[in-house]
Structure formats: C-alpha cells, structure tokens
C-alpha cells in the first residue's frame, strides 16, 4: 500500500498538466480577478462584504476541488480500468481496491494543497480573511468527499478512458455556474438560487463562505451535501467495475 502510494504520487507529479490546472489556474484567476478594482470594495449586494473576501476564494477553491474530483480522479480510474491496470492487479495478492484508496488519498492531498495555497494566496494578495470557524475543515472534507463520490460514479459509468474527463467537464461547468462562480448566489434570480441550493456545489460554496467568514454553516447546506455524498457513493459502489 505504501509503495503504491509512493509510485502513484510520482505518477501524478509527472503529469504536470493536471497539477497546473488544479493549483496554478485557480490561483492565477484568484489574483487576476481579485485585482479588478471594484471587487476590492465593500459590496451591498454581498451584504457589505468585499467580493474578494469569501466569494472569490470559495468559488476558486470549488474550481480546484471539482477539477480534482470530477476530472482527474475519474480520468485516472477509467484509464486504469481501460488499460487493464486494475485487471492485472486483481491477479496479484493485492486487491485493486487498494489502488482506489490510494487515488482517493492522493486526490484528497491535492485538494488540501489547493486549499492551503488559495487561502494563503487570498490572504496575502487581497487581504481576505483566513477561515476562522472550526467547522471550515469538516465542511471542506465533507464537500470534497461528496464531489469525489460523483467522480467515482463518473468513473463507474464512463464507457471508456477518454469519455471520463469529458463527462466530468459536462457536470463541472453547470455546477460551477450554479455554485456562483460567475454570478454570486446573493445576486441570483430566485429560480437560479433555488436550483443552486440543491446543486451540491452551491451548498458547498455557501458552507465554505460561511465558515470562511467565521460563521456556522447552515444546516440546510450541510444536509444537501450529506445526502449527495450518501446517494452518489452508494450508486458508485453498486456500479463500479474493475474490468
């Protein structure tokens, strides 16, 4: 298990493109968008908060998390299934399930790194707050787990290796939209806002923003995330194929 972890970590590091997308792209967007002059001023639409305080960092973090969970994770797993890596493993004493665990651990690691980079980046560049409510960490972990369960379901359903990240993208962009990446949730028309409330991405961003700002997350947000996690992981477990 340790050896698989070491080898697979090396493989992820060798794939410099995915590292670029997961960490560099959200950070770059955080810096560039945050430098649009008006976004650094208190905004009555956001309840007097600045756009760069929690809205921008939380949506950029969701961008990083969805990239990890919805494209990188399913791409690797679907490729390994397609190439017969999982099949070959299942002829050895080590179960391919350990490969799955290793991928989850590595992807969680990347998510944590992205979070740390974005929190510090927002703090240093825009003077945004550091998440101050203790529930930020559980919210982050819960949200990442829910997104990964969707990623596993994509990996289970993708007919071949190439389609996995494509399906991931098709789910990712609407999710980012409803989570408020382009229009903050506060300024959404009621219909969009309602969809957003149930879109998994929306509650994740909302709960992260709340805890980022030092408040407790709403139970409604947490409930949607937990239900999503339970539903998608149950489906993924039922539908996952090793070969």
């Amino acid at each position: 298990m340790k050896k698989i972890l070491a080898v697979e970590t090396k493989l992820h590091l060798r794939d410099s493109w995915s590292m670029l997308f997961i960490i560099a792209l959200p950070l770059l967007l955080l810096i560039v968008i945050g430098n649009i002059p008006d976004l650094g001023k208190p905004n009555p639409d956001l309840g007097g908060e600045r756009f760069v305080d929690t809205q921008l960092p939380a949506t950029m973090l969701l961008l990083a998390l969805t990239t990890v969970a919805l494209t990188v994770l399913p791409a690797v797993l679907a490729t390994y299934r397609h190439q017969g890596v999982l099949r070959r493993m299942s002829t050895t004493p080590v179960s391919p399930a350990s490969m799955l665990s290793v991928q989850l651990i590595i992807n969680l690691g990347m998510a944590v790194i992205a979070a740390v980079v974005l929190i510090l980046g927002a703090r240093l560049v825009h003077g945004s707050p550091i998440p101050s409510h203790w529930a930020f960490v559980p919210v982050f972990l819960l949200g990442t787990a829910a997104l990964m369960s969707i990623g596993l379901l994509i990996a289970a359903l993708a007919p071949n290796a190439k389609s996995a990240p494509l399906i991931g993208n098709v789910i990712m962009f609407p999710m980012l939209f409803f989570a408020g990446m382009w229009i903050p949730r506060e300024t959404m028309p009621p219909v969009l806002r309602t969809i957003s409330d149930y879109s998994v991405g929306g509650p994740i961003v909302q709960a992260m923003r709340d805890t980022w700002a030092g408040e407790a997350p709403s139970l409604g947000s947490l409930a949607v995330i937990v239900v999503g996690l339970a539903l998608f992981s149950a489906l993924a477990v039922r539908l996952f194929r090793w070969q």
Binding site: K3, I4, V7, K10, L11, R14, D15, T79, Y80, Q83, G84, V85, R87, R88, M89, S90, T91, T92, P93, V94, Q243
Partner: protein, 313 residues
C-alpha cells in the same frame, strides 16, 4: 488406523497425484455468445502445456477462468494448493493478452511495485528478460516487444508455481522470440508449471510438452506435438528437379511410393516410410541426381486442418 496415518497417506497421495491443474467441462458464455463450450484438460507439475487455436477460439477466456478473472458458467477448475482466490493469486503468475501499465511508469518501478505485492524483490528478472538498459524508460516509450517482455517479467516476479502466459511472443521479433523461449525453458527448469496460449506452431512445437488444440470453444485434441502430427496421415511429400530424364515407373515400383506427379520441371513424390532414402537410391541407380530436394512433412497446421477441417492461421 492411527489418525496420523491418515495424514501421512493423504500427504503421499498428493505427492503422487501430479496434476497441478484440472479443468473439467468448462463452459463460458458472453450474453448469448458461447465463447467456451466444453473444455477439459489437465496439466502435470513442471509441464509446459500449450493451448493452440485460431482467433476467437476461446483460449483467452479459458485462461481467464483459470486465473480467476472470470467466473465460469459451468464446469470445474481444480488447482493444486489453491483452495481459494487468495492462495491462487499467490501461486499463479498471469500475463494477460491485453493489459497495459500507466504511460509514465518506469520499467524498474513497475517491477519493484509488483514484486512488493508478493513481499519479494525483483532479483535478476530485468536482466533475464533483457530489459536492463531500459530500466529507467517510461512504459509508454517501450516498443511492443519490450512491453511484452516486461509483462512476462511481471507474471514471474512473484515467484509463482504456475505461470499462465497469454500470447507469449506475439509482437516479438524472431530473436526476442527465441530469447523468450529460452527464458521460459529456464523458468520451467526451476520447477514452474507453465500454461501458454499461442498462435505459433513453431513455438508450440519447440516449447510445449503437451498441447490442447482448441476450436470454437471445444478441445479437438490433446497430445504431445509429435503425437498430434502423427494423428494425421504420416504421409510425406518430396519435391525435386531431376538432373536428367528418367522413367517415373521406377519410382512407382517402390513400396514406399504412393504417387508420382510432375509440375513443370519438378517431380513430386508422395509416400510413407523412409521415402527420401528409397527415392534417392532408385534415382542413383539410373544415374539421376535429385537437385533442390525438399521434404514436406505434416505439421501441427495439417493436424489442425485434418481434425477440424479448418486452417489454424
């Protein structure tokens, strides 16, 4: 009788029953398509057992059932020393027909990783499969033959008692193929039982102690390579160009000869027994020398053709 007597008797009987693999009435369907209809064979300890047959005959499906990758629909598979999947995985090394590795995994890393699955080290395997110079190369950058050799190494890295090799030398150049045959013979000399699937008659003849010919999901014959060839008419055919004119009757008169015909300058003689000897002697008596003499004997291809009415390749 003493309880320990039972144990001793059981021990002895297992030593004397040399069968390592016993497959009986194996049947496997994909949907409605029957891939393996009725396959039975057994493999003795230390044997190199070949499975030969045309594309789609069900060879891969058979060995996938053998290695626990597929659940047969009917039939039984008994493997000595493997009472469950876990023990099977420890004693059997498998080379799959189509299994890749991650593009950016280096050769040594692959071997090291798979060795760790068995709690072993890779030893001199890299050298034995001739990949020492490629140890730092990415899997994605290897040639087809090199990938194949790495795949063989991965099947052997766990120090298996049984190695199952699907399409052992497909994609290898003739030199690499011969090197691989040598490797397999060495491995067998270490006491490993080998089941190999192949398309190549030459490979089957050279390596296998016994082989099963499979066609359309059924075993058509199981025997030694020479036994299979002997099943078909043991007729031989001689082709040559005579150095001068002679009467065909002197050949027809020979007891060994069944037929004489001419095609252009060439004479074709069919017959049995020590045909070349008899024919050259008779010709010499007439002062005629057979030039460009070629002897054609039945091959496994002919055996397969005779048994199934179909060509092997």
């Amino acid at each position: 009788m003493h309880p320990s007597g039972f144990c001793a008797a059981a021990g002895i009987s297992s030593v004397y029953s040399m069968k390592v693999i016993e497959v009986t009435n194996l049947h496997k369907r994909y949907g409605t398509h029957v891939a393996v209809d009725d396959v039975s064979f057994s493999v003795a300890e230390g044997e190199i057992f070949g499975i030969l047959g045309p594309n789609g005959a069900g060879k891969t499906t058979t060995v996938e059932c053998l290695s626990g990758l597929r659940e047969p629909d009917r039939g039984t598979i008994k493997i000595a020393g493997a009472d469950d999947r876990d023990s099977l995985k420890r004693i059997m090394g498998v080379q799959l027909q189509s299994a890749e590795l991650p593009e950016k995994l280096k050769v040594w890393e692959a071997l090291d990783l798979y060795a760790s699955f068995y709690g072993r080290t890779s030893g001199d395997l890299l050298e034995r499969v001739g990949l020492t110079e490629k140890r730092d190369t990415y899997f994605g950058k290897l040639s087809g033959g090199q990938k194949q050799r790495l795949s063989i190494a991965l099947a052997l890295v766990g120090g298996p008692r049984i190695a199952v090799l699907d399409e052992l030398t497909t994609g290898l150049d003739p030199q690499a193929r011969r090197d691989t045959w040598e490797l397999i013979e060495q491995v067998r000399n270490d006491g490993v039982t080998i089941v190999l699937v192949t398309h190549f008659m030459e490979e089957a003849e050279r390596l296998c102690d016994r082989l099963a010919l499979i066609d359309a999901g059924r075993v058509v014959a199981t025997d030694t390579p020479s036994g299979l060839v002997a099943m078909v008419d043991d007729e031989q055919r001689l082709r040559f160009r005579p150095s001068g004119p002679f009467s065909e009757e002197i050949l027809r008169a020979l007891p060994e000869v069944t037929e004489v015909s001419r095609s252009g300058e060439q004479v074709v003689v069919t017959g049995t027994g020590n045909l070349p000897h008899a024919v050259t002697l008779a010709l010499a008596a007439e002062g005629v020398i057979p030039t460009d003499l070629r002897i054609e004997q039945a091959t496994l291809d002919d055996a397969f053709l005779a048994l199934t009415g179909r060509k092997l390749a």
